[in-house]
């Protein structure tokens, strides 16, 4: 039983009380949830003197020093860090999405003996606390000579994310009915063609959601960049932010400003890709 889902004009069903309830509840929810972020903003525009002079560290600033952002961008070198992070994140996300879709396709649509075992293997890789893998990964990269390079980090991220991505995509792919593959196969299409022309297009929404999550995750990654990169000119935003922490002294305002700048990219990606995975004008086939 399949349905075509089309956006309907549901205007007449909107009761004003419910509309009001929606807005009140949503606004309240967002306001409360975002409180810490507002404090982050406050912190980013304060001077260190103000931060160190007032015990209420979360209070609104007396003076709004927007130059902090300029200072973080130029003096601290955020611009370079942001560039590096793009260089690392974009290929990693594309790479892992693509490679994991291959594995997900295999696990979702083929019945073979090791299918379930492999799924568990992919999941198992997600279970171990990352910190414990720091040294083995460091030594592996050292051995292979991939330490301290963009390629090394990208390769690592692509491989490392395969567990979650395969698991995620396989689950969503399982919802696609076999019937959609029957026809092309009858026509003699190769499995790879089916993968490319049928399954991938149908997985756009889940891949978009996954892409946004992966982008956010890899963009915010501190640990692996730390382990795999040594030269300052290669370092991403997260390491740049971490470096604003001195041995004893915390530059709260700079770190907050830097974090906000760093948060801009995942936010942008979210805005651009959300229409792919958020329901709106959708025409798609769904299991009834």
């Amino acid at each position: 039983m399949e349905q075509l889902i089309v956006k309907k004009q549901t205007g007449k069903r909107r009761r004003p009380a419910l509309v009001a309830a929606f807005y009140v509840l949503s606004t309240l929810l967002v306001a409360v949830w975002l409180m810490p972020l507002v404090i982050a903003l406050f912190t980013s525009v304060k001077s260190m003197d103000e931060l160190m002079g007032n015990a209420f560290m979360w209070a609104p600033p007396r003076k709004w020093i927007w130059q902090n952002f300029a200072q973080v961008w130029q003096r601290v070198g955020m611009s370079r860090y942001v560039l590096n992070t793009f260089i690392i994140t974009v290929p990693s996300v594309l790479g892992t999405l693509f490679v994991s879709s291959l594995a997900a396709f295999a696990l979702a649509f083929y019945q073979f003996r090791l299918n379930r075992t492999l799924l568990v293997v992919f999941i198992a890789g997600m279970l171990i606390p990352f910190q414990m893998l720091m040294i083995p990964v460091f030594r592996l990269s050292d051995l292979v000579g991939l330490r301290d390079s963009y390629q090394g980090v990208i390769l690592f991220h692509v491989a490392f994310q395969l567990g979650f991505c395969t698991f995620f995509l396989r689950n969503f792919m399982k919802q696609i009915p076999y019937a959609l593959m029957e026809a092309p196969r009858m026509d003699g299409a190769s499995d790879f063609l089916i993968y490319r022309k049928v399954i991938l297009p149908l997985s756009i929404s889940s891949m978009a959601a996954l892409g946004v999550l992966e982008f956010t995750w890899i963009w915010n990654d501190l640990l692996w960049s730390l382990v795999l990169l040594q030269r300052d000119i290669l370092k991403p935003v997260t390491l740049g932010l971490a470096n604003m922490q001195g041995e004893f002294i915390s530059n709260y305002n700079m770190t907050a400003a830097g974090s906000i700048i760093a948060a801009a990219a995942p936010l942008l990606v979210f805005l651009v890709f959300q229409r792919f995975f958020i329901s709106g004008l959708t025409v798609g086939a769904v299991k009834g």
Partner: protein, 415 residues
Amino acid sequence: MKRFLSLAALTLLVMGLLAACGPKTDKELIINSYMSDQAPKEAFQKLVDEFQKQNTAIKVTVNTTAHEQFKTLLGSWLASKDAPDVVTWFAGYRMQAFAAKGLLEPIDTVFPGGSFEKEFPAAFKPPASYEGKIYFMPQSWYWWAVYYNKDVFAKLKLTPAKTWDEFLALCEQVKKAKLSPIAIGAKDTWTAGGWFDYMDTAVNGGPFHQQLTMGKVSYTDAKVKETFGYIAELSKKGYFIPNATSYSWQEAAKLLFDGKAAMYLMGQFIKDVAPEDKKPVIDFFQFPYVAGRTEYAVDTPTDGFMVPVNAKHKLAAKKFMAFLATKEAQEMFCKPLGRLAANVNVPVPNADAERGLAMVKGASFAAQFYDRDAPEEMAAKGMNAIIDIMATPDKMDDILAALDKERERIYAELK
């Protein structure tokens, strides 16, 4: 398509390998530093630039990593086959532990003909050496003292204490005025380490404390209990700020700046975070004498550099170390930061430092710091124990007994 992919992956791999196997010349110098604070970072860069000018054939790269992350990776870097050539670190046990494992390169050749003793204080040699060889190049150091708010003292008509009794009286006065006598940011456990070092050396003397940090004295020893007794007394009388464990050291410092707390046993860098208008209000005095002692010890945590044994450009590294040892280089770095240079020929940067130096020179014993003299695990657990005793002074005996069991295990494993 699949074939193309595998080819692409293979190409990437090969590219990576090729990139790593570039021509290795001894014309390079890679320095890994933890000086991530803006001011030291810039001062160090100037130093490196000067070295670069004098040695145009060597290409110098400085890689900066924040302190916490640096500590995490140092072991891996030292053991790596692509180790950096110079790394920043501190003197004391923490450095000697690496030397003991054979991960460091001795730098005696950097100090020809007894020049270490000529240029650096005698007290710096032991924490910079291991089994007779020098492995550490000292650069700067600072002192710890009891920092106090002059305005608060003036208002309550107090003067800095010289003896413990005076100190207690001082605290009582402050408490009566509804202020906190002693600020401490116990969320950063090393603040307790400072208290332990100063209290123990004041009660039992420097050499005893050294035996303790070397694991030769039990934490349940009567003398150690005496030390903790003094700290516990402060706690029982309510002289520490309430909720100390919720404050990072920097947040607790604010209480001192605002005049909500009177004193803070802290390192010299506390002035670096004071707001401009509060800087002149903060001053320091020497930790009080206890029980009629006339000698005192100080903590002088020393920062500097070491050369990994796996470094690829040892000649360049040693050249750099020799450069760092010179009076000019040391002054170049320490002067703008107001720090004390290890090289004794460097003039003192400011009046505060002069007093600090005098204080240190008058001491009969100098330690690095609890967490630099003792193995890290011991120090970590020790500092937690101190904070626990501060919070629940009645449980002192149990806490110390548990701590001592840890001590036995930790030092046994070191053999």
